[in-house]
């Protein structure tokens, strides 16, 4: 049974079609960042000599590259949980997105079967 949580419990400022920046969350210097599609992009930990140590995907350490990964709908550069495109089920619409207590990101998708076109000679895309 789906229930509607009041805005005070789960809040989002995103307009989902315009992905902006990552959603950062953490505690005591141990942070993580997810994109608007909830792909895990990086985690950090406090480091004694430099302040922070990052674990990121394999891409250049430039702000433009980081922003590009944050706005990528396919989750390139992320290394958390993600549904592969080879599966027969895909995520369709975002039915819920927000921050629990303004801290922890939450996201809900609809899952949909992939429609295989019934044409002769067509390749099986699944």
């Amino acid at each position: 049974m789906l229930i509607l949580v009041p805005t005070a419990y789960c809040y989002t400022s995103h307009v989902w079609s315009y992905a902006g920046k990552t959603v950062d969350f953490g505690k005591d210097g141990f942070t993580a960042s997810v994109s608007d599609w909830h792909y895990l992009l990086q985690i950090t930990a406090p480091h004694p000599s430099s302040g922070l140590v990052y674990a990121r995907g394999d891409y250049p350490d430039r702000s433009s590259s980081i922003l590009a990964r944050a706005q990528d709908k396919d989750g390139r550069g992320s290394w958390g949980f993600r549904i592969s495109h080879t599966s027969e089920i895909m995520t369709e619409d975002c039915i819920g997105q927000g921050l629990l207590n303004y801290r922890w990101p939450y996201m809900a998708y609809n899952l949909k079967l992939k429609q295989v076109p019934k044409m002769d000679g067509a390749r099986d895309i699944v």
Partner: protein, 500 residues
């Protein structure tokens, strides 16, 4: 004939047709219009569906009520496979990602759901200029992933779920549908045996042996995380790995991420190594029984190392009650800070609790404050960590080294340090010649301050001295703070170089 036709068509609203080289009587025109309308009505469903698909692909704004209406009109209920709920949080230095897949009853035949966990990961330090240079070269700091799992799904779901789904975004712009039961899974029946932890270790002196651990659970059972073999070049190095204590260390050079797994996977490695890199080749197939309706996948990641005040990944996953309390999704939870924000805001401005007209303001303020508290404020005490001897606990070794550093300095800096410490700690005008400036009930002679200092824990005033006031360490702390701030601003999208 032609003239009269032109005169009469001028009376019609569509007299522009007279510009065309056609001879159309009003009756023919009317017939044409009716025919066009009929054809248009015939094509209307197709146009409608095209619009829907465009909407569902391009504009996925939750705030559009028209989108919700359009979706209700589209009947794709035979394609509904379920829902996916994701939630992430950080607890005790470990990042948890919870994914709940609820499976629809509309699926008759088993379907496979392939998901991946992990991927290529690089470590980098904040403000590390060498990382910038290394970006053009092929990156060796890579761990590879991990797992793909097939879930044939044959299960039932409530029929009303799809219609309820789209009501909420249309009624309230900032609202989010949140199924409390989705996150609040039950983990009490976990079978926690010793399993595999995916570990990536950076054995470099520059990185102070930072290690990234990862583990995953599916429906309470630990998932066996396998690597997929991506490149053959690194395989040769992996063959020569030394297996020790469930981890594998490479004898590779510095700055090279060691790929390590458990011993069991080492044995599997030669067989799977020969295949082409294929993400779907190394999968598990799990057949779900008819009683099961959802799949809960918990992945946890943690960075640890000798320099990080964190012991590594917890083998135990927090229970459902702990997670509920920690996330603050219960009404009476002390972590439910959103309720506190709303109450404070409504009390100040005299709003009713249900009045959500000004909610966006409090949301923006609260999110900014929570982000600053949780993310932007990094509790890093650089100097204290640097001075800590390896192998000693927090108190003793740190104190000895700090006092030795203090004694090496000039008398002037000692004087300022002592007075500052006295002002901060007691506020008294004690001007004794005690070299450490510590609040001592019985001042010892200055010949033997070390044994006393080893007993006492460091005070806050000493931290201030060492961090800021002392000359020798001040510059070093500043040179490390600046790239830290620079990197944070770069992450936030601020172009720092243009500001300079």
């Amino acid at each position: 004939m032609l003239l009269s036709t032109q005169d009469r068509t001028c009376l019609l609203p569509s007299h522009y047709l007279s510009c065309l080289p056609l001879h159309i009587s009003p009756f023919q025109l009317l017939t044409l219009v009716i025919l066009a309308t009929y054809l248009y009505s015939l094509h209307l469903p197709y146009i409608y569906i095209e619009t829907l698909e465009l909407h569902s692909k391009s504009s996925r704004s939750l705030n559009s009520p028209t989108l919700a209406l359009l979706h209700i009109g589209l009947d794709d209920s035979d394609l509904v496979a379920g829902t996916l709920h994701n939630c992430s949080f950080v607890k005790d230095g470990t990042v948890y990602q919870i994914s709940v897949i609820r499976i629809s009853s509309k699926i008759v035949t088993p379907k496979k759901l392939v998901f991946t966990l992990g991927g290529q990961v690089r470590f980098s330090l904040c403000g590390d200029k060498e990382a910038y240079k290394a970006t053009s070269s092929p990156v060796s700091d890579i761990i590879e992933p991990l797992n793909n799992t097939r879930i044939p799904a044959t299960l039932p779901v409530a029929a009303g779920a799809a219609s309820n789904t789209y009501d909420a975004p249309s009624t309230k712009t900032n609202s989010v549908i949140f199924n409390s039961e989705d996150i609040l899974y039950d983990l009490r029946a976990l079978n926690l045996s010793e399993g595999q932890v995916m570990t990536a270790t950076c054995r470099s002196s520059r990185y102070d042996n930072v290690r990234l651990d990862m583990q995953a659970f599916m429906n309470g059972k630990r998932m066996i995380i396998r690597k997929s073999m991506q490149d053959d070049t690194s395989l040769s190095t992996r063959e020569n790995l030394i297996c020790s204590n469930g981890e594998i260390e490479a004898s590779e050079a510095e700055n090279r991420l060691v790929k390590s797994t458990s011993e069991k996977e080492v044995e599997q490695r030669p067989s799977s190594a020969k295949g082409k890199p294929d993400l779907t080749s190394d999968q598990q197939t799990i057949t779900l029984g008819p009683g099961q309706k959802e799949v809960v996948i918990i992945a946890s990641y943690s960075l640890s190392g000798s320099c990080i005040k964190h012991e590594g990944l917890e083998k135990k996953v927090p229970s459902s009650d702990e997670i509920q309390t920690y996330l603050g999704v219960r009404e009476q939870s002390p972590q439910c800070t959103a309720k506190l924000w709303t109450e404070a805001y409504n009390a100040d401005y005299g709003f009713e609790e249900d009045d959500s007209t000004e909610d966006s303001e409090i949301h923006a303020i609260a999110r900014c404050v929570e982000r600053i508290i949780a993310v932007s404020s990094i509790p890093a005490d650089f100097v204290a960590h640097r001075l800590r001897q390896p192998g000693t606990p927090d108190g003793k070794g740190l104190n000895v080294i700090r006092v030795e550093e203090l004694e090496k300095n000039t008398a002037a800096s000692l004087e300022t340090a002592r007075t500052t410490a006295n002002d901060i700690q007691t506020g008294s005008s004690e001007t004794s010649k005690h070299p450490n400036g510590r609040e001592e009930p019985t001042p010892e002679p200055p010949e033997g301050p070390k044994p006393e200092l080893e007993i006492n824990p460091p005070t806050e005033a000493e931290e201030i001295q060492v961090l800021g006031r002392e000359d020798g360490l001040k510059d070093e702390a500043n040179t490390k703070l600046i790239p830290l701030i620079e990197n944070i601003m770069t992450l936030d999208g601020v172009d720092f170089e243009s500001m300079l």
